[in-house]
C-alpha cells in the first residue's frame, strides 16, 4: 500500500472517493444502505442491521468531484463479520481533525480495504492472524 491520507490531503484533497456499505438479503427484503459519511445515529450503523438471510455485503464508492459511482468490494453474507471505517486523527492549523480515509470489510477469510484514492487492498489471511477479534456487536 502506497497510499497515505496525509499526503493526499496536502496535495490532492478533492480527488477522492467516499464509501458506503450495502446489505443485500436473500429473502427479498429491501437492501439496507449506509450513508456516504459515518452514521450519526446508532440505528443507521451497519452493525445493528439484521443479518438474517444476509446474502451479500458490498462497499460502494462515489467520487467526490465527478460523482461517478462504482462497486469496490463485496463479501458473501455468511462469511461477513464486520465493516469498519478507517480514520486518522491529527491537529492542523489549530484544529483537531478526524479524517475518514476508507472503509473495509472483515470476513472469515480476510480483509478487503478500500482507500479514498481508489486503491483496494486484499489481505487473505484469516482474521485471527490479523489480530482482528470479533467485535462485540457482531451477531450471527
Amino acid at each position: 500500500m502506497s497510499f497515505d491520507p496525509m499526503k493526499k490531503l496536502a496535495t490532492d484533497a478533492g480527488n477522492r472517493w467516499l464509501f458506503r456499505w450495502i446489505f443485500h438479503y436473500a429473502d427479498h427484503k429491501p437492501a439496507k444502505v449506509g450513508g456516504w459519511h459515518p452514521a450519526a445515529r446508532l440505528e443507521d450503523m451497519a452493525t445493528v442491521q439484521s443479518r438474517d438471510a444476509l446474502a451479500l455485503v458490498m462497499i460502494e464508492g462515489k467520487h467526490f468531484t465527478t460523482k461517478e459511482q462504482r462497486y469496490f468490494a463485496e463479501a458473501t453474507g455468511e462469511d461477513f463479520i464486520n465493516i469498519q471505517h478507517l480514520a486518522i486523527h491529527f491537529q492542523s492549523a489549530g484544529l483537531v481533525r478526524t479524517h475518514v480515509y476508507g472503509m473495509r470489510i472483515i470476513h472469515r477469510h480476510g480483509i478487503i480495504s478500500c482507500f479514498e484514492n481508489g486503491e483496494v487492498l486484499r489481505d487473505d489471511r484469516h482474521y485471527s492472524e490479523l489480530n482482528i477479534i470479533m467485535p462485540e456487536s457482531t451477531r450471527f
Binding site: M6, W21, P38, L42, T47, Q84, F90, V96, P135, E136
Partner: protein, 223 residues
C-alpha cells in the same frame, strides 16, 4: 457513528492545545540541548518525558488497528526551515540514531522516541533493549520494514500501552490487545492508550531552531 479520538497530556484532559510557533496548536516538547532529551528533569536519573493519552467516544465496539506515524507538519508553519525540510530532518535523525543509552549519555540518540508501556519504570523507560519487544520505537528507524513515516509503515500501539481509567486512578487493562482501545467501560481492553514520548538530540547536531511535524494516529472503527 463517527468515532473521534481525544489525545491529551493528562488522563482525562482535553486535546493537546499548546501554542506553537506559527500560530497552530499542538504539543510542544520544549527545547532540547545537544546530547540530551526533552522534556528533561534529570539526565543522570533518566527522568522527564511527555505523557500522551489516547481515548475515544465509540459506543458500539472498541477501536482497532491503532497506529502512529509522523508526517509533514500540516499547520501554519513557524519553524526554522520548511515543513518538508523538518520532516526530512526528523526522519533522518531517526534513521541515524546510534544511541545505546536511554538517557543519551553517549550523545548518539536523536529524533522522536516513544515508549509504549504506560507503567514502565523510570530506570527502564526509553531503554534501547525495549526496541526488541516493540515497546520502544523511534520514528525514522526501521523495525522489520516499518519506519513510522507513513500509514503503510506506521507503528502498532503496543499492548502494554493499554490502561484503564476507573474514574479515580489508572490501572492495567486485564487482557489488552495490540492496537485496540476499548470503550469507556472496558476493563478488559482498557479505555486508554498511554504512551510516553521524548525528543532527543545528538551531541554533534549543528542545526538549531524550531522543528515542526505531525504525529498521526490511525485507527479503525465499526461502521
Amino acid at each position: 457513528m463517527a468515532v473521534v479520538l481525544t489525545i491529551s497530556e493528562t488522563v482525562t484532559g482535553s486535546n493537546v492545545s499548546d501554542s506553537l510557533a506559527g500560530g497552530s496548536t499542538g504539543l510542544d516538547f520544549g527545547q532540547v540541548t545537544n546530547g540530551q532529551f526533552a522534556p528533561l528533569i534529570s539526565q543522570a536519573a533518566n527522568t522527564g518525558h511527555q505523557d500522551i493519552f489516547i481515548r475515544h467516544d465509540a459506543v458500539v465496539d472498541p477501536i482497532t488497528d491503532v497506529k502512529f506515524y509522523i508526517s509533514q507538519f500540516s499547520g501554519v508553519y513557524g519553524g526554522a526551515n520548511s515543513a518538508a525540510t523538518d520532516f526530512t530532518t526528523l526522519s533522518n535523525y531517526g534513521a541515524a540514531d546510534a544511541g545505546a543509552n536511554a538517557n543519551n549519555a553517549d550523545g548518539l540518540s536523536r529524533g522522536l522516541h516513544i515508549d509504549m508501556d504506560w507503567q514502565v519504570s523510570t530506570a527502564n523507560q526509553f531503554s534501547y533493549s525495549r526496541e526488541a519487544t516493540g515497546q520502544k520505537r523511534i520514528f525514522g528507524k526501521t523495525y522489520t520494514g516499518k519506519d513510522g513515516l507513513s500509514l503503510a509503515n506506521a507503528f502498532d500501539m503496543h499492548v502494554d500501552a493499554a490502561s484503564y481509567w476507573n474514574g479515580s486512578s489508572e490501572i492495567d487493562a486485564t487482557t489488552p490487545v495490540t492496537g485496540k482501545i476499548g470503550k469507556s467501560s472496558d476493563t478488559v481492553l482498557g479505555n486508554r492508550g498511554h504512551i510516553r514520548a521524548r525528543t532527543y538530540l545528538h551531541t554533534a547536531a549543528v542545526d538549531g531552531g524550531i522543528l515542526q511535524f505531525d504525529v498521526v494516529a490511525s485507527y479503525a472503527y465499526t461502521a
